[in-house]
Structure formats: C-alpha cells, structure tokens
Amino acid sequence: MAFTVMPETGDTRTATVRLAGELDMSTVPELDTAITQLVGTGRNRLVVDLAELAFCDSTGLACLVRGDNRCAEVGGWLRVTNHRGHVARVLAVSGLDEFLQYQP
C-alpha cells in the first residue's frame, strides 16, 4: 500500500493531515516535509488522522513527536485521531496515545 499524506487546510491556523499506507523510516520524510510546509504557512494546530494508516513504527512515532515540537515552537500543537488496530497498539505501548490524543 502506497504511503500518502493528504493535508487539508482549515482556517489560517489549523489543518488536518490524513495519512494512508505505512509510516516507517522510508516514508517519514514525506510527513516531515508536509508538517514543515503547513507550519510554514502559519498552521500551528495540526490534527493527524490515522484512520487509514496501516503501519507505524518508532521512526513514525518520533516523526509525530517532532511535528508536535515544531508546532509548539510557534505556540501550537500536533494531535492524532482515529487510530485503530496495530497503530493504536503502537501508540499505547509507547504511552504516546494519552499525550498525542486529539481532544476537540
């Protein structure tokens, strides 16, 4: 399954990023780039929708934390939503689910 990053900008400060496929060390750079671009346009509140993400490893988790740090530098945050199955388990095992869980 090919990895895709689908950013949808909301208002001037928010964006939703839908991920599909597998997030590992070979696809992390695509997400890094997308986050950098969104932050560059002033979006510092990013909701990453993981509904269609089939795989995520520790390099993927590190990318999400890096994204949150990048948003925090400009007064915002990155949160994840709709994780399920394996991806939910990885987030739970790492303890990041509580930290990164999107709460509208």
Binding site: D24, M25, S26, F55, D57, S58, R89, V93, S94
Partner: protein, 129 residues
C-alpha cells in the same frame, strides 16, 4: 538460541535501504501466519523485525545488503538480521526506546557484533494453541 538443524530456514537478502522494510515485514507476517501465530502475535513480530532492521540500517554503509535468516520450528520463529557496519558504528544501547520495543514485542532479543557485521536476533514463541 542456535536453532536445530532440521528447522526450515528462509533466507532473504535485500539492499540495506528503508524502502525494503515493507518487504521484510510482509515476509515476516507470511511466515508467522504459516506457523499459525495469532493476529496480535503476527503484528508484534512484524513491528519487531521492522524496528530491528531500522536500527541496523542506521549503521550500515551505503550500498550494503541486509541479510535476514528466518528459522521456523513447530512453535517458534527466530529472525536473525545482519548488516556490515560502518567503522566505529554502534547499535543503540539496551536502554534505548527501540530496544525496549524489541524486548516488549518478542520472547527474546539479543544483539552482537563480529567481523564488521552487526546482528540482531529475535525469538518469538507462539503462545496460542
């Protein structure tokens, strides 16, 4: 952890490039399914192999090969992955996050270095009947 001689052994060599991680994950899942591992166990092993390979890729020189040896017994799968290493490179310490993931997801995980190669060995015993 040396497997018995009558095991089925599957050897897979791929370029030491992150783009091949998905191939190794798929092979791992396929072999674990053959052993009738439970779905959760297959997922755990899939990520363990991915994490082990990602650690090795970080210390492999450009153009190297990543060698995987899957050894299949009736109720266990041993995966041994190795790469040649760049001079002076070291695997993350056993207190690192990546190692914690490996030991949490497998029955046993160990690492070694010899003759300019680093190797990670993962043993997963099937717990389901």
């Amino acid at each position: 952890m040396e497997p018995a001689t009558d095991d089925d052994v599957v050897l897979l060599t791929v370029p030491a490039d992150g783009g091949y991680l998905s191939v190794l994950r798929t092979a791992t899942a396929g072999l674990a399914a053959r052993l009738h591992f439970a779905l959760d166990e297959i997922e755990d092993l899939r990520i363990a192999v991915d994490e082990a390979c990602a650690m090795l890729l970080a210390i492999a020189p450009r153009g190297a090969d990543l060698e995987c040896r899957f050894s299949v017994t009736e109720d266990a799968l041993t995966v041994q992955v190795s790469v040649p290493t760049v001079r002076g490179a070291k695997l993350p310490s056993e207190s690192s996050f990546a190692w914690k993931v490996l030991t949490a997801l497998t029955t046993a995980a160990s690492a070694g270095a010899a003759d300019g190669k680093a190797t990670i060995t993962l043993l997963t015993q099937r717990t389901s009947a």
